[in-house]
Subunit: 190 residues, 2 copies
Amino acid sequence: MALDHAILVSLLEKPGSGYELARRFDRSIGYFWTATHQQIYRVLARMEGDGLLAVREVPQQGRPDKKEYSVAGPGRSALAGWLHEPIEPESLRHDLAVKIRGVAFDDPAALVQEVERHHRAHSDRLARYLAGELRDFTGPDAPAPLDAGQELQHVVLRGGIAYERMTIAWLDDVLATLHRLGGTAPTATA
Amino acid sequence: MALDHAILVSLLEKPGSGYELARRFDRSIGYFWTATHQQIYRVLARMEGDGLLAVREVPQQGRPDKKEYSVAGPGRSALAGWLHEPIEPESLRHDLAVKIRGVAFDDPAALVQEVERHHRAHSDRLARYLAGELRDFTGPDAPAPLDAGQELQHVVLRGGIAYERMTIAWLDDVLATLHRLGGTAPTATA
DNA sequence: GAATACATGTAAGGGGTTACATGATTCT
DNA sequence: AGAATCATGTAACCCCTTACATGTATTC
């Protein structure tokens, strides 16, 4: 149910339409939570029905009108309540690791290209995160003393950066392992 | 749908009952995929119905009888097919990061205990992973030259270890940031 | 006597993914 | 003329989580 809370946080940072939220979930929020527009519209409608959000119809010129959502009082309370509840440390779901173990029953070399593709994807993400960090937090155009909200955004971004760096290093390890096994035929064909 | 494939891999490594699979998903497989017994029993029934798995009723003494599942021919083919299809790099879902950004609209100090709890949970996991590595791969009782399957299991475990180390370091960073903000009242109460 | 391990399930509900659907405007 | 951006939705399906349900054997 953390999508609800992610939307509350994002709308507290800045009110916006479903479409705008979907874009934020592709960028800044994307490094710790993903959501598609279909999901977002459904949740926005539900939360508005529950009185957690307020809507304002904003007519626009040369563009479709939009509904601008903002957090209502009960929405703020709901977020505060959740912040004070403990949550469980996440458990992983890593498809690629399943594949790596599965390839013991197939040809290890067949995975090399796949792992390289993932390596590129994570390198791209890291580059985007680093560019964002420079733009918003550490570069010359960033605000001089960061306020609390910005400090918190920065530490979350640092988490994303650490995750991508760790993943890239691990994928290098995986590639080296696959190459070492390259000459050998699959052993565990039990 | 990778639960299906995770089960196929696990049953190829060693046939077993639903109960045994659930235990593996709490241990070795747990560091890249989690599943509860309810999920596992349902998926096992479905896969057996689809002819991907074979069952054998095993009567036992002093214990309930069990159904031992193993991978049938079509199951092997299904896994091989999946291994050769590309998959998307995972996108994150990190509740704690949502909380960290949300605490800008609340009291940052309120999160310290929560973050410390997560820190302990990840430290515990790391300790378990390291013990497992020593037992199965790097210790004196580990098989001298590892076969391909063991090499692949080891590289996946190294991924789990790297993930936990990275996470612990990041949580230290988060704690330091929260303490730095400790004196300040929430700024972004917009 | 209570807790833990072994063993297998059903049922309800919620969340997420994928596909489908529409329509105006701006850019190449 | 076609693609991309802005903007909002519906519908079907699948996966996952949580709660409920049952029963034996062993260990503390």
